[in-house]
Symmetry: C2
Subunit: 407 residues, 2 copies
């Protein structure tokens, strides 16, 4: 008899075959498409024969943490609470990283599966996600970034560096993601977990456009691991936390709207607070610049006026009130500002110019955060059933699809 677990109002069958859900950070669909065209992703190219390729919408803000948490909870940020990498804590009146599990408001499917007796493994590229993804998880959970510190007591496994046969990679490298896949393969071969969640970093996608040699090489690397997982009998389900777009003009200069400077000029200093939820400890490759910002208004700044002012700026795609944004994007009301501002596809939103260090932008800026990066792939190495009119698919349906809809 199939065992079911229920998490955040959804039911999941426990899988009989090892199931690997992969979140390819920043995987604009065009990366896969172009790698296939270049002949560098032969496994993905043949997937339509025996697998399933769909498109879904990610969570907006199209950032890493909100989407990874949505995927592992099967729920939007209004349920799990993580609506950015960074937020303004109304209680402490401080801008803080949202990478502590205390901010998580919902159980993960991962932890609940482990409670139901499944062997669950999580491997992330950066350590920042490990706390959130591994919350209350009794299983294997570690990051490539701190692979040298992995121990049995804390991470449920040991000797990872030697098993993988790679040194600890730089946090700004393609190798950091390759380490995740190599570690996943080692776990699949040895521990053979019932369920694995692998989450990469978008360093390559921030730096290189789809179809370029560097991007194709990165996807070739992934393709080879997907094939090996498939050959070992695993169910492989691939999605992304968000897409990725160029954010520059024709000669690679970034299109940046420094919203804090614009608002200060309009309303005076200290009257508004622009918060960029893309901010995290690793911003060298994107300068903390994405296409989503939230704005707190102080007394005497009239909301209607601020909306009109912001909406009138070229490059702004939309300005929503807190309640509009929370309804449209299913966000937690207490963790976003009075307004949400979305940049157009080619435009990023900054706070004040002097707060951004752009010295690390050695190649033209590519970034995400907006609705323009909402489309992501949903790819399976099996045929799915019961999806005749699925309606709108989300990246956070992937565990449901992988466990409940396989033919």
């Amino acid at each position: 008899m199939t065992q079911l677990i229920s998490v955040n109002s959804r039911s999941y069958r426990l899988s009989s075959a090892p199931t690997i859900v992969i979140c390819v950070d920043g995987c604009e669909q065009e990366y896969i498409n172009q790698a296939i065209q270049a002949g560098q992703a032969p496994f993905l190219a043949e997937l339509t024969g025996f697998g399933t390729v769909l498109t879904g919408d990610c969570v907006v803000p199209s950032f890493t943490n909100p989407n990874n948490l949505s995927i592992v909870t099967g729920a939007p940020p209004s349920v799990h609470g993580i609506c950015g990498n960074f937020f303004f804590d109304q209680e402490t009146q401080e801008e803080v990283l949202m990478n502590d599990a205390k901010y998580l408001r919902a159980p993960t499917i991962l932890a609940e599966m482990a409670k139901a007796g499944q062997l669950v493994a999580v491997v992330t590229a950066k350590d920042k996600l490990r706390n959130l993804l591994g919350h209350q998880l009794k299983g294997i959970c570690f990051s490539a970034e701190k692979a040298d510190q992995v121990n049995l007591e804390e991470h449920g496994v040991e000797n990872i560096l030697a098993r993988v046969g790679m040194p600890v990679p730089s946090v700004y490298s393609a190798d950091l993601s390759e380490f995740v896949f190599a570690a996943g393969l080692s776990l699949l071969t040895n521990e053979r977990p019932d369920f694995m969640y692998l989450s990469t970093t978008d360093y390559v996608q921030h730096k290189h456009a789809p179809g370029t040699p560097e991007a194709n090489a990165f996807y070739a690397m992934m393709d080879s691991y997907f094939k090996r997982y498939h050959e070992q009998g695993a169910i492989v389900a691939i999605t992304a936390d968000h897409g990725m777009n160029a954010k520059t003009d024709a000669i690679g200069r970034p299109n940046i709207l420094f919203l804090q400077d614009l608002l200060d000029a309009q309303y005076g200093a200290q009257r508004t607070r622009v918060l960029l939820p893309i901010t995290d400890p690793y911003v060298v490759h994107h300068g903390a610049l994405g296409s989503y910002a939230t704005v707190y208004l102080r007394d005497a700044v009239p909301q209607r006026d601020a909306i009109d002012f912001l909406a009138g700026i070229a490059g702004v795609e939309a300005v929503l009130t807190r309640s509009q944004a929370c309804q449209r994007f299913e966000l937690p009301e207490d963790r976003i500002g009075d307004l949400v501002v979305l940049g157009e596809r080619l435009t990023v939103l900054g706070s004040a110019a002097d707060k951004h260090d752009l010295s690390g932008l050695t190649v033209p800026l590519r970034s995400h955060g907006g609705v323009s990066e909402q489309k992501v792939p949903l790819i399976f190495n099996r045929k799915l059933v019961g999806l005749d009119s699925p309606g709108r698919l989300r990246n956070f349906d992937i565990i449901d699809l992988a466990l409940n809809h396989l033919a």
Copy 2:
């Protein structure tokens, strides 16, 4: 004393140096950016030193004919009348190509310059544009497509094949555009026209993504001609008729909404007419699929209902009434349908599935037509002045900028 001409309510200085305005068909800004990154566009890479690089908006529908005519008239389609390659003629009740000069409602700057005594030359890739661009022009005007038929009486020049030293290129080739540039160079060297307008075809951009070897090679070719024009003392001004985006899922299958089929299923056959203004005699490389359609409603199809129906279809970005579309995009009311439908960035709009021949789509579909392809480059090999707060720039400002704003 500087001589001025006035065309369509704007004034233009007649240039003292040869001025070459180039419309690079389908030049999404990222093509230039990636070619520079790959080291294949050294002239464009160094332009910021002595030139000017700006971004502007093209005309929506982001198709070739409306934009080329806007560029050469300095005016939107509401003034010049050309709002597609194809339209439904209300008078004759027929769907017809809009490439006859009888549909043009405004004089071109080109013809007016020639009347003022300037030597004007126009070279297009495809012959379809030649009629419109050359309307009432006393000067040189021919297409690469029919270069073998060029004669003094009709085209103002002769012996072009021998002068260029290339055979007549295929209409589906990169060579068709290269022929335009090579012919332009021959004219610049020999006749040295006061003003040249060169217009390419987007065959390469429909087939190849920015940063791919084929796209980079095409931009390297253009870069080498821009450099030679510059070295011969010409003022070089480069823009595009529209951008270009992938219109597929992760494995390259096109995202197509067959609007006629959807409307027929909802309202019955013959109740609505979906017209695709991208349609022209050369649709093999895009299957007449773009992100813009106009819909005529017959009696008893309620407009409000049709708008709600269309707007509710996933992949539709917006549905506008005729008057809304004409106001927002400055279109001629008598040449568009009751509704205008825009596809999202990754989605194209078709009529009925059986009306589209997709057999020519040998590579993943890339196309245009929507607001997602509205951003285009405005590039000059000189510094501009008097542009401190230019407001919204359009591609059809390029002749004004090239003639009236050079330092």
